[in-house]
């Protein structure tokens, strides 16, 4: 009787011990895999997901690593990550520099995906956001050196939308123009054709996962002019008509500069504006009074900021 009780107790102790050992072992295993998973969540800069992939976190939960997208890509640019790569094992990616996405109109990779990890709602490849091109090195980009390479711009499937050439003065020569390739994040699909085409030994323009390439404003920031447009008028009401303190008979019009207008059309300058005016050095007759011009006015603001003789 007593020995039976003892053996029951011993069995119970053994059971608890076994359970604890199991919990410990499985727990350690879980910790290891969990930490590994956390590390594997960050996508390395050179690995770009196929079109239609959501944010990395969602994608890694939705993609079952089957490789159907890899198989149905007619250009064979997609690969499944191997265990030794710093990409979640078995998940699909491409490398822009060696094989960019050709932006197939019928998007076979998305159609092949059985889980919707590549979103089936994506039907227009131009709307995909695989990554974002960034001109990372202005010191080697041939266009910045004053040449007309333009290759990244020329190969872009969304030429003049995703990438434009913005003109600026070549300060070094003093008489030429720099055709700066500028990527626009609202249009760029991250296909990587620009990076692939860049003629340098190492591309000056590179495609990164959007999360790495894109800045983000603090959520409390509001862009004044956008808010104004949304509201259909100034939000800091009442907006005061800008007053210029000008010689008798002169008129200033935004974008046009000074002109002589019919006398009496200008309102009498107010005291506040008058006092402000006095600290700004008198500009030349034809120059815009830069100190009074808001900086975001096209044509006016930029040039006065760039040229050295403009007052700062």
């Amino acid at each position: 009787m007593d020995s039976a009780k003892k053996s029951v107790l011993a069995a119970r102790r053994q059971f608890l011990l076994d359970a604890a050992r199991m919990a410990g072992g499985v727990g350690v295993l879980g910790l290891g895999v969990g930490l590994h998973a956390k590390q594997a969540k960050a996508l390395p800069p050179a690995a770009i997901r196929p079109p239609g992939a959501g944010p990395e976190q969602d994608f890694l939960g939705a993609c079952i690593r089957c490789g159907m997208c890899v198989r149905d890509c007619p250009y064979n640019i997609l690969f499944l990550a191997r265990p030794e790569q710093p990409i979640a094992t078995g998940s699909p990616y491409f490398v822009a520099r060696t094989g960019p996405c050709e932006m197939c109109e019928d998007i076979p990779c998305v159609k092949a995906c059985p889980t919707g990890a590549l979103d089936h709602k994506l039907t227009d490849i131009a709307k995909s956001k695989m990554g974002l091109a960034v001109l990372v090195d202005k010191e080697t980009c041939l266009n910045f050196l004053g040449l007309r390479c333009d290759v990244c711009y020329r190969v872009c499937p969304l030429i003049d939308k995703a990438i434009t050439l913005d003109l600026r003065h070549n300060e070094r020569t003093g008489k030429h123009t720099i055709f700066e390739p500028v990527v626009h994040s609202d249009q760029c699909t991250g296909c990587g054709k620009c990076e692939k085409a860049c003629v340098l030994e190492v591309a000056a323009i590179k495609v990164y996962p959007v999360k790495l390439a894109k800045g983000e404003l603090g959520s409390h920031y509001r862009i004044g002019w956008e808010e104004k447009q949304k509201a259909g008028g100034s939000l800091v009401a009442p907006e005061v008509e800008h007053q210029y303190n000008l010689p008798e008979g002169m008129r200033y019009e935004h974008g046009k500069g000074l002109s002589s207008g019919p006398p009496g059309t200008m309102a009498t300058p107010e005291a506040g504006v008058d006092s402000l005016r006095s600290v700004v050095p008198n500009p030349g007759k034809n120059a815009a009074p830069a100190g009074n011009i808001p900086q975001n006015i096209p044509g006016g603001g930029l040039s006065s900021r760039m040229s050295d003789d403009a007052p700062r």
Binding site: D18, R21, M22, A23, G25, V26, L29, G30, V33, G34, H36, A37, K38, A40, K41, Q57, D58, L60, G61, A62, C63, I64, R65, C66, G67, M68, V70, R71, D72, F79, L80, R82, P83, E84, Q85, A88, T89, G90, C113, P114, T115, G116, A117, H120
Partner: protein, 309 residues
């Protein structure tokens, strides 16, 4: 005594009485199945003959038949993603199939790791390696729960980062990389650390399939258990020897001859290896204990009841 027994290899008696083919039939069929499935996946990338696309996680056969792995889809569901129709159809087909034929048929007839662990088990016996770590065979179910928990917590398919099953199969088809190291680790673990350790104690994929096949009609049954001469070859060869004991030996306790435990992989090696042809494939519903056994069991129970009161 034990040394004496080991001079005879497993199944040698079966080879002598039934001939080589009948003593290896199910083993050969199993290897044909495993290799055939792998070959169907490989002729695509190797020769451009696309019979099956994808891998064991999800595949599309002849561009029409979708098949998806329930375990991986379950993990994906836990992360909060609801898959598209094709994956759902695929998983339904696979689940119903294994529900009928036995979940761990996946293990013995499909899984690419099985030949690896079988080889480790065979070599372990040849080299006479004994002992090793001990854990409960239920560890796999705990690990299964853990993988689902991890998927929920991390929001990603965390287990896929280390899963040797999908890593090996995907690797063979899409490029192995360093996945061979993981497979080698499993082999070494089974060889040196734990007999039949990976598949018999730890693998959550096998555990998941065991749960799916819990009520499968197709089972191995020890129909002619009266003929058993206690050679113990079936216990030695079976990757899950615990499942055999009651159906084979407990006729007197009223246990039927069908191996009901869902951990049985329906590999049929016990059928091969038994010189007395005790085992065969059968239905789980043909499970009446023999009349004599039942009667004996009934009388035993009644005497027990009598003594207790």
């Amino acid at each position: 005594m034990n040394e004496n027994m080991r001079t005879k290899r497993w199944g040698q008696e079966a080879v002598e009485t039934k001939g080589w083919w009948l003593a290896h039939k199910w083993l050969v069929l199993r290897r044909v199945s495993q290799l055939g499935i792998l070959a169907a996946f490989l002729v695509g990338p190797w020769f451009g003959l696309w019979i099956v696309k994808g891998n064991l996680n999800y595949s599309l056969t002849l561009n029409t038949l979708p098949l998806a792995d329930p375990f991986i889809l379950l993990q994906s569901l836990v992360t909060g993603h609801v898959p598209e129709k094709l994956a759902l159809i695929g998983v339904a087909i696979v689940a119903v199939f294994y529900l009928l034929v036995g979940g761990r048929v996946y293990c013995s007839w499909v899984c690419p790791v099985n030949p690896v662990t079988d080889a480790a088990g065979w070599l372990r016996d040849r080299l006479g390696i004994k002992g090793g770590a001990h854990v409960s065979r239920n560890a796999r179910y705990w690990i299964l729960a853990l993988t689902l928990l991890l998927a929920g917590i991390t929001g990603t398919l965390a287990w896929e980062l280390v899963n040797p099953v999908s890593m090996l199969h995907r690797g063979l088809i899409f490029g192995l990389g360093s996945a061979w190291m993981v497979v080698l680790a499993v082999f070494a673990f089974d060889l040196f650390v734990m007999n039949r350790g990976w598949c018999g104690y730890l693998c959550p994929v096998g555990a998941c399939y065991a749960l799916i096949g819990k009520a499968s009609p197709l089972r191995v049954t020890a129909v002619k258990r009266e003929a058993c001469n206690d050679c113990m070859d079936c216990f030695a060869i079976c990757p899950e020897p615990l499942v055999i004991k009651a159906p084979l030996k407990d006729a007197t306790k009223g246990v039927g001859p069908v191996i009901l435990a869902s951990e049985c992989t329906n590999c049929g090696r016990c059928i091969d290896v038994c010189s007395k042809d005790v085992f065969s494939f059968g239905s789980r519903f043909n499970n009446a204990a023999s009349m004599a056994g039942v009667a004996r069991a009934a009388s035993k129970r009644s005497t027990q009841v009598g003594s207790a009161s």
